[in-house]
Amino acid sequence: MSVIPARGSVGHAIPDGRALRGAVLVLVAAGLVLPILAGLAQTARAAFGVLPSIGARDWSLDPWRALLDLPGFATSLRLTLVTGVGATVLALALAMGFCAFAHGRMSQSLGARMLTPLLAAPHAALAIGLAFLLAPSGWIARMISPWATGWAVPPDLATVHDGWGMALILGLLVKEVPFLLLVILSALGQLPVRAHLAAARALGYGRGVAWVKVILPQVYPLIRLPVFIVMAFALSVVDMAIILGPSNPPVLSVAVVRWFAAPDVGMVLPASAGAVVQGAVIVAAILLWIVGERAVRMLGRIWLSRGGRGLRSEPGLKLVSAVAVAVMTLGMLALAALAVWSVAWRWSWPEALPESWSWRVWIAPGTGWGRAAGATLTAGLASTGVSLMLAVAWLEGEDRARMGRAGWAQALIYLPLLVPQIGFLYGLNVLFLRLGISGGMAAVIWAQVLFVFPYVMIALSEPWRALDPRAIRTAAALGASPWRRLWAVKLPILLRPLCTAAAIGFAVSVAQYLPTLFMGGGRVATLTTEAVTLSSGSDRRVIGVYAVLQAALPLVGYGAAVLLPALVWRHRRGLSGAVR
């Protein structure tokens, strides 16, 4: 006998979340997915010669021929692959090696807190700081000259913008190693690490090797998607590549941006073809990665089953973690360099520190940073607010339907993070122009939400689901309606993760370069767009102020996300996080 639902019961087994779910679905589809698909379609059309707004109406392969003939195209493509895939492989290896060595040797919460400045700082700010450090006239050269190097003047070395893309890879590592560490740390929380390590070590495996052989194969599947996101990002990054990468020819993403911005409107067509190539590069790299995974899995199985205890590989792991620490130290130094330069006045080569200090740029917000900071705050708060509301509505809709998330819905959330920004932003801008909403703050906020929302969703989903369903059932049994359960029970209890998600979203918004640049139509100048523009040859003191602000705003957000819940719930031990 099968269960035949009693009259009226099924209608209430799927409760009245339909309207909410419908509204969220429409908003996400029309507001996020459709623009991306439409932008991609516009770009793809232009790549094959059709862009009516500049009078191009005939399908053809000419844009592709033009693209192949563009000087430096092949070099750009090679540089993109080397820097993007190289940075991803290195970042993963460093993060894994560091975890193998450091796990259990240091407190996780302390480690995570130390990563915060690097996680919060936008790519552009870190890149500028690194340039301040590494440049021939930079801080490192000043510290070791002339006593160690004998340089009386800054040497003629390409330590930044080097033709190999080494500086760019280093910059990506500074940002991605901490990100992967954080992802790995949270994945480790789901595994019985201690017990498995103890079992392996009891069998005679060395500490680090036990981690690599037993824990790593369990962790990797959990962090695979973030690794893909890191790779997609590294392959298509623009701001960091402008500041640190090779300049002539640059990596593909920067080349495509330049072609889009070229005075000759006809360049838009080959630029669009380049944007399509950019997308194809990411797809190809991910496929290549998957093939690589298979190979590693096969070889790894053989290596694992041979039973080597790997006691001699310990020094190797130590070296890897030393490199990881060096990379992160460099990141911290880069942030310090920004701060020092922003208040330096007279600082002649090769002094290690400025001879005189000045707040001159800081006390003159009218020179431009005031407006840029204002625009950054406006866009950040608005895009974070919209994303947070949308995420809460989405998760609440799932609760009311009492359903988990379908695979396709999960894919929708990740879509903006895997598609290269350059692939759809230009096309989207064309659409926005036609709708008459381009070139303003609203368009910028809209475009930023595309990237803020996924991160807010990712940050909030786990804690939202971890909420004890019995607490919500209790509230319902006490007569609380679905809205009251949301406002009076769920949101207050989830204040801490809500604040964390908001801080992450805000940091993502502050860091956005390309969406702000394209959608703002040059009229919306944020700290990030200004810092990147200034980075090519302006006064370091001025750049320093922009970059410090750019790095500080997200950090203040993270700080508030810790303090606010602790303050609000200071009399509630179950929520303050102080005593567990």
């Binding site: 009693a6 087994a13 369903p469 209790t474 006490l478 509630r572």
Partner: protein, 209 residues
Amino acid sequence: MSLCLRAVTVGPAGGQPLFAPLTMEIAPGAVATVMGPSGVGKSTLLDAIGGHLAHGFAVAGQVTLSGRDVLAFPAEDRRIGVLFQDAMLFPHLSVGDNLAFGLSRGVKGHARRVAVEEALGQAGLSGYAARDPATLSGGQRARAALMRSLLAAPLALLLDEPFSRLDADLRAEIRSFVFDHVLARNIPALMVTHDESDAEATGGAVVRL
């Protein structure tokens, strides 16, 4: 005022029911017990009666409370209280606000405070209104949770292994505290448990799934 189950069974929608159709009538003031091994669907039965079934589950049969078919209403309109093994006091509200959470909106101002203070007194928690629930002992939490449920003026009570986290002494004390209140309120209660002594203590009907 009795709680009647007629040929009630639950299971995956369109699939096999978890147990044979269950028919029982629980009189006001009585506590009936459902026992059975883990996974037989005891808690799912309570979810169905309380209106908390997860997606993909369906209930068949009829559940009436004072003659009203409750299955037609969402959980918040059924007026069926529920107690779990953890007290489930809301961590962000003070003890007093927890109790006031279920109190009808019609009770206002001074009357509200008096009702909460009175309930706290009955639970041996006089003067605890401003306390953080996290600072209460296990027994205090259990009593506060019951008073919170009762302030919502439920017409029936569901007990989902509510005593299993308590040690033996406290268990007997809290058990009689809950059963005494059920009797005093003259409402039917349905309990699921693993523990024979819980079932014996009710003095009511015991159904084994």
